[in-house]
């Protein structure tokens, strides 16, 4: 087998040195009754052309060359060629976790840069080295808040990504924490009055997402004032961080967490992505996951290493801030390269393009007689009212090589027939026109 670097002769030599007659003897410590007698029922090993053939056939069974107007937590932005060139360097992608800092400075410095970029984007003081994704970043943030103030109730806006909220529920189901939700207003923003009713001195944290699942931007300063007055923490989730190219960062939040997939991580049918969590300085020792810190070596040179490990599972075990070990380091590297390429001007310009595309689409929908479900400010996603229920809609879109949006009825029964659409800088005017035309045509 081509991945095994030993010849039959070498195996014989080695067995001889060990004092074994056969390789089977090496497994004598496994009781015979549980040792497998038959080969596994798997097809024989394949050559590269055959493996390629298999996956090409699978790729052909998926949509291809289609303009996709889906967002809903996974965003298509242009990945510069530099990105793959850098992350394909084997010293990055075949490397282990940087526990031996002297031979891992590449990984460590890149993570330090990632942590810095997340702080600069979000307005927070400290950020970790990554979490699995945006959805798991939510329970990790909530658990941080609970550790901070020991209160037992969490209030989450219903406009937070539904699958994030499902994951929060899964994680907290055995923790004796009450999970409540507040509705969204006609604007699409979290309903501030309903929130006021829910607040009390047993609320640990309030969770909102901005832009939220409907693409609507939340009024963070106002929410923060409300939440802090009640002595609770404000957690702001961000699923589309390209928005931070032009949106005011949620600087009043206590914890900002979410999904950085937009920054150069392929959409890849849902993963691997890259979660992030950032917070104010006072919460640093409660952060989950890995942290890279700056230090010096024996000769006084600047270097980086993993630090504050007493928070983590390998030291603190059942008392750790999280059970997370392997995280999403290579995806965090993609983010760091992406943001280095686009930089200060590029991220802003990309965000302006996204805003412009979605506003154009909205105008076209309005001209065709359709309306947006929500009136609030939005970035690159919007919900168009009542156009989702038309017969064979996706088939008609497919004919034009278009993948349409998400029917909100999937998660919000009262919004069935409303369609969530995303317009990034990759959306062409022509395809947007076609999309509007097909969605709004009668019959």
């Amino acid at each position: 087998m081509r991945y095994l670097p030993k010849s039959p002769d070498e195996r014989r030599q080695m067995l001889q040195q060990i004092g074994c007659d056969s390789v089977e003897q090496l497994f004598d410590s496994i009781p015979a009754e549980v040792r497998r007698q038959r080969p596994l029922a798997l097809d024989p090993g394949q050559s590269e052309p055959e493996i390629l053939g298999y996956f090409r056939a699978r790729a052909a069974e998926n949509a291809r060359d289609a303009a996709c107007f889906l967002g809903a937590g996974a965003y298509d932005h242009y990945r510069p060629s530099v990105l793959d060139a850098m992350i394909s360097r084997s010293e990055f992608y075949t490397a282990y976790t940087p526990y031996q800092p002297e031979i891992s400075q590449g990984t460590l410095q890149a993570i330090f840069e990632f942590q810095t970029l997340m702080c600069q984007l979000t307005g927070m003081d400290v950020a970790n080295a990554s979490l699995y994704d945006g959805s798991t970043a939510l329970p990790e943030s909530v658990l941080m808040a609970i550790r901070a103030n020991r209160r037992k109730r969490i209030v989450t806006a219903r406009s937070v990504h539904p699958e994030y909220r499902q994951v929060l529920h899964t994680y907290l189901q055995h923790q004796e924490i009450a999970l409540e939700e507040v509705p969204f207003a006609a604007s699409g923003q979290a309903d501030a009055r309903a929130l006021a009713d829910r607040l009390g001195d047993d609320v640990s944290a309030v969770v909102v997402q901005s832009p939220n699942f409907f693409g609507i931007v939340e009024d963070i300063p106002q929410l923060a004032a409300q939440v802090h007055a009640a002595g609770a923490l404000l957690i702001v989730m961000i699923a589309e961080p390209v928005s931070l190219g032009i949106l005011r960062p949620p600087a009043e939040a206590d914890i900002v967490a979410g999904e950085a997939q937009s920054f150069g991580v392929p959409v890849s049918f849902g993963g691997p992505y890259v979660g992030f969590v950032a917070a104010r300085d006072q919460y640093v020792r409660s952060l989950p996951g890995r942290l890279v810190g700056q230090t010096t070596d024996a000769d006084g040179n600047r270097g980086f290493c993993l630090t504050l490990a007493t928070r983590e599972q390998h030291i603190r075990r059942e008392k750790a801030t999280s059970n997370i070990c392997t995280n999403q380091a290579l995806c965090a590297l993609m983010v760091t390269v992406f943001l280095s390429v686009y930089g200060k001007q590029g991220l802003r310009e990309m965000a302006v393009q996204n805003l412009s595309k979605s506003r154009y689409a909205a105008e076209r929908f309005r001209n065709a007689g359709a309306k947006l479900r929500f009136q609030g400010p939005y970035f690159n996603e919007l919900a168009v009212a009542d156009l989702g229920g038309r017969p064979n809609l996706q088939d008609r879109l497919s004919e034009q090589k278009i993948i349409g949006g998400l029917d909100l009825g999937r998660y919000y029964p009262e919004l069935a027939g409303d369609v969530l659409l995303c317009f990034t800088e990759t959306a062409s005017r022509e395809k947007m026109d076609r999309l509007v035309q097909i969605m709004t045509e009668s019959g």
Binding site: P39, E50, M86, F92, F269, G271, Q294, C305, Q328
Partner: protein, 498 residues
Amino acid sequence: MADTDIKKARPHVSQNEGLIFELSSPGKVAYQLPPLDVRAQDPVQALGREYVREELAGFPEVSEIEVVRHFTRLSTWNYGVDTGAYLLGSCTMKYNPKINEVVARLDGISNAHPCQPEPLAQGCLRILHDLSKALVEITGMDSVTLQPAAGAHGEMTGLLLVRAYHQSRGKPRKKVLIPDSAHGTNPASAALVGYDTGSVPSNPEGMVDLAKLDSLMDEEVGALMLTNPNTLGVFERDIVEIGRIVHSRGGLLYMDGANMNALVGVSRPGDFGVDVLHLNLHKTFSTPHGGGGPGAGPVAVKKILEPFLPVPLVREAADGTLAFDFDRPQSIGRVRAFCGNFGVLVRALAYILANGAEGLRQTTEDAVLNSVYLRKLLQDAYELPYSAPTLHECVFSDKRQARRGVHTGDIAKRLIDYGFHPYTVSFPLIVPGALMIEPTESESKQELDLLADALLSIAREAEQEPETVLTAPHSTRLRRLDEVQAARRPILRWKPPA
């Protein structure tokens, strides 16, 4: 300093490189976006001033070549599997096949959207389906979820399943038992699920003490969390009896699959009494470690736990079409958005396709052969605290070297000078001063002989010139880093100079 003994490595000039922010200068660009084909919006007009940020202070402004040189230089400071052997116990740092990288990037796969209508995602669903089938066959279980993003995530998922099972039978139970040799994620995951942990001591052979297990196992214990082979590399000889004890009190047997590299094709957890286990695709199944992820931690279960699996599962209809099944009333819920670390799953499936049954078995045989061979070469110079036969990894202690003041951490640092990545230091906790070594099947006899030479040479150095070892590494860009200072005065981000 006996540098003439170092055969595998020599020092080499490497480039310095500051932080990307330190290279920044206003007006430098590395990007160009296509021109807008619609009217440009002014954010303040479109959103209102209160929603718009000031500039991205401190964000990089560099050119393309600077980005390329920056990350290229950083990469040259790293060591990877493609550079040379990693000996990290229970990490299974094996070769990452390059065809896996090609197929993960195919058009139609790397750009598939997770919310694509199912008729437009049949290829992705087929990949999930085929991988699930293969993993079920390899583990001897009945069903699998591919959602968890890593081993620890899988552990949490598995324990949630255990708890849901017990809850459905009337009593969730209160705790899980974990051997004292276990990885830290085990108790951390148990805590998340609301279970207390009880520690099961190891016997003098390094295996689970059956008598102690028998006395600890009662109807408050939801599960025994076992790594098999354990973190000493030893197969639990009494595994069938262990399963019987646990099952006799209504408990479940959870297996941490981190050490599956000793079992694939040779023994199946489902055949030795395991009810639920997680796998680490970034260990056993060759997906790249990436400097700390992404990985994937699928969880395989016996039928009794299937109703509780996370939603959604992939189901095949009579006509062969595939769909996500969300109608699972007893499910523990989602453990993450979307279906899993799909790009990692693709790579694992490619690895399984490349190997087939015979390749997988040969892989396991070579992994064990390599480790036992290494053990033989080293056992005269390094203390072996447990004499039980080991499989794919083994654990030495620094007891002999410690007499000269040299500890496992020092030996690890000196091994860097010899051109190797260190083994796992100071774990498992039941071996004081542990050196946990797992070569994997990816090492040739030459590399193993060089490794043995290196460790034997370091043992001699510890005897004759301990200072050399204590102040290692000598040949790296940076000498030993002050990790105490890093924790005492944490600097966790760059800030612009005042």
